[in-house]
Symmetry: C2
Subunit: 494 residues, 2 copies
């Protein structure tokens, strides 16, 4: 038998196991989507049990000696430059990490996440940090147990980053954020009082929904595959090939739902456009959190806050919202929806202040994990830091430390990828404009296909085939570089 011939049954066996694991992952996604969109509140405890059971099953099935041996043999046999070689590489990386964790810890983490999110939800509703506190303490305890499985790490935070962003180190984040922080603080100070139109609502819910629908249709939306729901915190999910779910948040008092919808479309289209032959394998999802976020930011900001986009869409939006927007001209509107306005909520932040919200979370996560900030002091520290970076006063914890669900779900090391996504989005955008010419002219005609196809070709279809640094280098010729992003901000707000 040839080398290829002997490798084939092993590869098929591995793919068979990975397909089952992908199915379990899809089940977990449905459970999560349902918990956030549909589940009655009292179902949270039972749901956490189900999530824990699935996580533990899935973990046990993955970290077997059989999988380890298959990977070892296949690493020697498969050409790393092929998709199958990439599959082996990505799976090996996952296996190496998961193998270090006991399966029951995997189950406990899923359980704590289910219970924690429900408690956070309640705490946020009543703006009562005391309800959340024991759950955050539990998450930190679990995180320390998790990190103890990786004694070889230079910096424990590297372990957390690496889960979402292959190869990213704390030192690299510090370097990028260090470069950004001073510039962003300065930009905020310079532009916080820029005179812009004051957009006054109400912006009726039905009209906002219709606007979202029109934009999604123009971006390329297929009702056979996509759905859109309302949640307090928008997100996107793919619980199976051909099943793309976005959520948005519509509030009569502002028009941000449209930007949330475009943001989540970016996540959705990335997942939708992945090569279908990667379905039910670890290659069948976006390669990292930061690359994912770069795409949501592309559609939200680089497309959705561009002058060209609004040349096309503003007349339609005015038609839908005549009372609120009838007296606001197009360029005033475009400036208003981009204005630098320090605020309390990360999710509502403009492109300049956004990074400072992230830097604050990055710092606090590291301090919590190091024990230099205690959980019970967290609200005070949060509020002081918000004052320092953004000169805003936090009126209550619901608008402060309780605003994001991430820590309740045990997501530490995730926030930095949001800001790196912003940085990367501009790097990729430059390349797109170099190759495709004036996109704004196309947007002004309501045409987005050329951009979407280019992104599909360059990024989306590859799924996780290329590690994030390699993908970025293939597309832009460079590593993560904050300069294009800073130039973009300076130009935009000049």
């Amino acid at each position: 038998m040839s080398a290829t011939g002997s490798a084939q049954p092993r590869l098929e066996r591995l793919k068979e196991i990975l397909a089952v694991l992908a199915d379990l992952g899809h089940a977990e996604q449905i459970l999560d989507w349902d918990a956030r969109v549909s589940m009655p509140h009292a179902g949270a405890k039972a749901r956490a049990d189900v999530a824990a059971t699935l996580a533990e099953f899935s973990h046990r099935r993955f970290v077997t000696d059989e999988v380890g041996e298959l990977l070892e043999q296949l690493t020697a046999e498969e050409d790393p430059d092929t998709a199958d070689g990439a599959l082996v590489r990505v799976t090996q990386r996952e296996w190496d990490r998961e193998r270090k964790i006991p399966s029951d810890l995997a189950g406990e983490m899923a359980q704590a996440s289910g219970v924690g999110v429900a408690a956070w939800d309640e705490a946020k509703l009543s703006s009562d940090f005391a309800i959340f506190r024991p759950h955050l303490e539990r998450q930190l305890e679990l995180k320390h147990r998790y990190l103890a499985c990786f004694p070889e790490a230079d910096d424990p935070y590297d372990v957390l980053l690496d889960e979402y962003e292959e190869g990213l180190t704390t030192a690299q984040v510090e370097e990028v954020f260090g470069r950004l922080k001073g510039e962003l603080v300065e930009l905020v100070e310079r532009h916080r009082d820029d005179a812009v139109a004051d957009l006054k609502g109400p912006f009726p819910i039905a009209a906002q929904r219709e606007a979202g629908r029109l934009v999604l249709e123009a971006f390329g939306w297929d009702p056979r595959s996509w759905r859109l729901d309302e949640t307090p915190h928008p997100f996107a999910s793919k619980p199976g090939a051909g099943d793309i779910r976005l959520t948005t948040h519509t509030d009569e008092r502002d028009i941000t739902s449209l930007f949330s919808t475009m943001h989540e479309f970016g996540h959705g289209v990335y997942e939708f456009d992945i090569d279908r032959s990667f379905a039910r394998t670890p290659l069948g999802e976006g390669t990292s959190s930061a690359i994912h976020e770069s795409q949501s930011r592309t559609w939200e900001n680089l497309v959705g806050r561009s002058a060209g986009f609004w040349r096309w869409f503003y007349p339609q939006l005015q038609g839908l919202l005549p009372e609120a927007l009838g007296g606001v001209d197009e360029s005033s509107f475009v400036r208003a929806v981009s204005a630098v306005r320090p605020g309390l909520i990360r999710g509502d932040a403009d492109e300049v202040t956004y990074g400072l919200h992230i830097i604050l979370r990055f710092e606090l996560e590291r301090e919590l994990l190091a024990g230099t900030v205690e959980v019970h002091d967290l609200p005070d520290v949060w509020n002081a830091r918000m004052r320092e970076y953004l000169s805003v006063d936090v009126p209550d914890d619901a608008h402060g430390v309780l605003q994001d669900m991430h820590w309740s779900a045990g997501l530490f090391g995730y926030f930095p990828t949001y800001q790196l996504g912003n940085v990367i989005s501009v790097q990729i955008w430059r390349r797109a404009v170099d190759e495709l010419g004036d996109l704004e002219e196309q947007f002004a005609r309501g045409e987005f296909t050329v951009l979407r196809e280019w992104l599909r070709e360059q990024i989306y279809r590859h799924g996780s085939r290329y590690a994030p640094p390699e993908l970025l280098r293939r597309v832009t010729g460079s590593g993560i570089d904050p300069e294009p992003y800073l130039e973009y901000l300076h130009a935009k707000f000049a």
Copy 2:
């Protein structure tokens, strides 16, 4: 160690395994609920993969030698009159059946069900039996493979019935249905032309929803635990303790949504009121399909079509639907919503014709399985039989053989339990009236708590602790008996 002492660790080990299996079952329920309520159409293929994987995992985990040995030891040790003894009995029964089936067949059946339901959905939409035909043939092939695992059965159909209704035999169904069939045909003939008010719509959707909400609130609805959605085919689901989901179908052209809502409430309240200490065990769900259906029929028909209920609710419904109902008096309305009107659709059938829809399906299932009716002849046979029993002409397959989803999901042996549920509902109702006195007076004041509490005490809280014949005997002192049901129908339509 005492006998009790030595049994305890084994019982705990069994419960631990069963809790995990219950979690997997809950995950399957969520996937199913989602597929029917939320899933984009193109997600069906991936969803079928997930369902197959979970079914196979779950099956493999259950049919182990370890579980078999635990059960053998516990059967000897546990007092059968305790809840733990019942748990062992119920689990043993399940294990004996599942152990006979290969795990990969369990997976294949789940897969075929996911794919089959999606195909049926499409076939029904375009009223094209040809789309559905290969899937029905596949289901029958799988059913024969399944039945081949039970060579000892006297009648293979007994095996199918037993899955939904412990101890029920084909002979028993034939006896009950034999007694009903002639009487029902005669009742239909006698009353099909009864003069009743013609309820004319439109019945606006929002008003129907508000009516449903008011009734559910009076029945006892807690928004922390319950939700209500729209689906073409109403159903109820409990994907975890404290998580009760009903669906209904609202159509402007008739007011049946209210009856669907009350029907599904009956399923939901049974599941909701099960002793919480049974959660994550096989005792934590209703004991059988027929007992379940007896409760949905109780709330839909015995409560929801009673004179007392409408004395309370009709003024409110008139207030919500003034144009449609302003000119219809209460007693005309009550007669109209119960009128014997032979029609095409089982789900819309009155209390008299309903049984004939079921008898037709029972007969056809047996003929399909025996091969005396071929799948490609099924539409013709269906239509001829509808003509014979109900004197109606079937205009197309969407309103004929394609109307129900059951066969697409491989549910054979299920339909009979619907009609047995009708029969049982009246047996239990008589006992309730004997003990509680005039319920209609309470309903007329919008009070349903006394009935609900009695049902909870007698039936709901026990979950699957008692096999259906035992439960029925405990409550009514008798086995399944069609006479009270026939007397009820004769009296109601006299």
